[in-house]
Amino acid sequence: MNTDRRENLLARRSAILAAILVGVLFLLLPLLAVFVEALRRGLPPALEAIADPDAIASIRLTLLVAAIAVPVNTIGGVAAAWCITKFDFPGRGAMLAFIELPFSVSPVISGLVWVLLFGAQGWFGPWLQERDIQIIFALPGLVLATVFVTFPFVARTLVPLMQEQGRSAEEAAATLGASGWQTFLRVTLPDIRWALLSGVLLCNARAMGEFGAVSVVSGHIRGETNTMPLHVEILYNEYQFVGAFAVAALLALLALVTLGAKAVLERYSGMLGAML
């Protein structure tokens, strides 16, 4: 019995050690490499790379794209979650499957489809050209590609939770004469707000970091249609490795802040939820 327990302890210790090893070697090291490369020549060159007008334009564009794509997917995701969990209708399963579909689509395809639709050779290309409307190689294309890639996050987050919570609370509210909006705002939203925020934050992290899809629709005009990940690639191709990794580090920091906010939310959501 005694040896058993000792063996058990040994097994637990080595499991912890192995997990830490995986975490450090496999997960943390790449992040560390980014920062080490960015600061190779000290802080000033890194800051200079970030203060470059083209870099600032790319930061702005990235934030702008995320600021449009995330709300679109939030509204769509909430509507879909409500529709799927609060009602029964045939095709519910299929709808859910289609919502998850973009997850398994290669980012390259996520860019390609918009070229097929709105490119000069695409379905709506000639029509758009006649009217002088630019979709791909401009802001709308970048937004569409990003929306496609981050499509499932909010819905995917809300559906399981809302399913678990059932419908009785909303049904009671409705029976008592509350309108749909009132029911949603007063009954449903308080229950899902933390999950919703988490989903939105994840959606945002992915939206800012997307590369493959936006690369296909960007056109790579300096200071204009380059998002941060694309700017990183460009700097790298100009042999400005410090600059590339500096912008990459900033991008990683933005994503980390997002994830940090999510972790804090998760830790305190219970407490805050009880308080509010």
Partner: protein, 346 residues
């Protein structure tokens, strides 16, 4: 204001930026100043440094000549990808690509007049370049010519000819050398290339990627590179690390330029776009090209460059391969010689 307008209002000049840093700049054209016209030059990877210098020079000339400000916007990437973007609707006023074939592809879709190559001197290629070898200092593998590339244990770095214009020149230069060997013909050239690609450990998508793989990641023993890229790698990664080797024969690479007719006519920028390309033939621009290791057409710029550009036998695509259309079809299209010779190392 249509959507491009909205986007270009996000466009920031250095000046507008410092003025509007705190807010989201929807500064609009007003911030660019009255009478500023814009030109979009869609180019390929290795020309960044040259066009940055030329754009400043051209803007200066244009201002003295017309009292107007011009802002040149640039987009760089693999030559094929850039051509594809223009075909798909990227609003390029001028294209300055790695090879005539990519411009032909745009012309085929009716965006550029079919006779574009005759509209400017020298086949619409204001500067030329060639393919050279970049080896590690001291040339430890003793690589002197194309024949040395297929020796066992020699790692050759070259990009993928399907995605990189530079890699197509590499492929054709090797082919031309092999065909000129005693008893050489198409079959022996194909066999030579298949042995050459067997020595390629990494096939990047673009010329810049290959240079990084060779210089930064220290892969391979020899990089097949544009002459100007090889010199640039010298400057970027340290002169004490590499040597440039000129093979006995190489290819005359003619990166071509053209005005995109359909777009300049719609945007009303034809005069500006044509002046921009014609300006590439001026002595000042030619000197700039030489400074960035492109071989100038201008005899005087060539002379003042001194021994910067060693002479070597250069074959042309037209004479050796019957033009780009033919070369593309025989070597790089699906089922072409690249697809056939590619027998990668296991």
């Amino acid at each position: 204001m249509h959507i491009t307008g909205v986007l270009s209002s996000l466009q920031i000049t250095r000046r507008a930026l410092t003025a509007s840093l705190p807010g989201i700049a929807l500064a609009g054209r007003a911030a660019l100043g009255q009478g500023t016209s814009q030109l979009l030059n869609v180019s390929y990877d290795p020309t960044r440094e040259f066009y940055r210098a030329y754009n400043a020079e051209f803007a200066r000339q244009w201002r003295t000549r017309t009292n107007q400000n011009v802002q040149i916007r640039t987009s760089h990437g693999g030559s094929g990808r850039q051509a594809r973007s223009v075909i798909d609707g990227l609003q390029a006023d001028v294209v300055t690509l790695a090879l005539a074939y990519d411009i032909d592809a745009i012309a085929e879709r009716g965006l550029i007049a079919p006779d574009w190559q005759k509209r400017l001197p020298d086949n619409s290629a204001p500067y030329t370049s060639t393919i050279v070898f970049l080896v590690r200092k001291g040339n430890p593998k003793a690589i002197r010519d194309w024949g040395d590339l297929i020796r066992d244990g020699v790692g050759v770095i070259t990009p993928n000819p399907k995605t990189s214009g530079g890699a197509r020149w590499n492929h054709l230069a090797a082919w031309a050398w092999a065909r000129r060997q005693p008893g050489g013909d198409d079959a022996s050239a194909e066999a030579f290339l298949s042995r050459l690609y067997r020595n390629v450990p990494v096939l990047d998508t673009g010329a810049r990627g290959s240079t990084t793989t060779f210089a930064q990641r220290e892969q391979g023993d020899v990089l097949l590179a544009w002459e100007n890229e090889a010199h640039l790698a010298f400057e970027e990664f340290g002169r004490d690390k590499f040597e440039i080797i000129y093979p006995s024969i190489s290819v005359l690479a003619e990166p071509s330029v053209a005005v995109v007719d359909r777009i300049v006519d719609r945007r009303g920028t034809r005069a500006l776009a044509e002046a921009y390309l014609q300006g590439l033939y001026t002595p000042e621009a030619q000197a700039l090209a030489a400074k960035h290791f492109y071989r100038p057409r201008d005899a005087q710029a060539r002379a003042s460059a001194g021994d910067r550009f060693p002479t070597l036998e250069l074959v042309t695509v037209d004479a050796e391969f019957g033009g780009w259309g033919e070369a593309q079809r025989r070597h790089f299209d699906d089922g072409g010689s690249f697809d056939r010779v590619y027998r990668p190392a296991r």
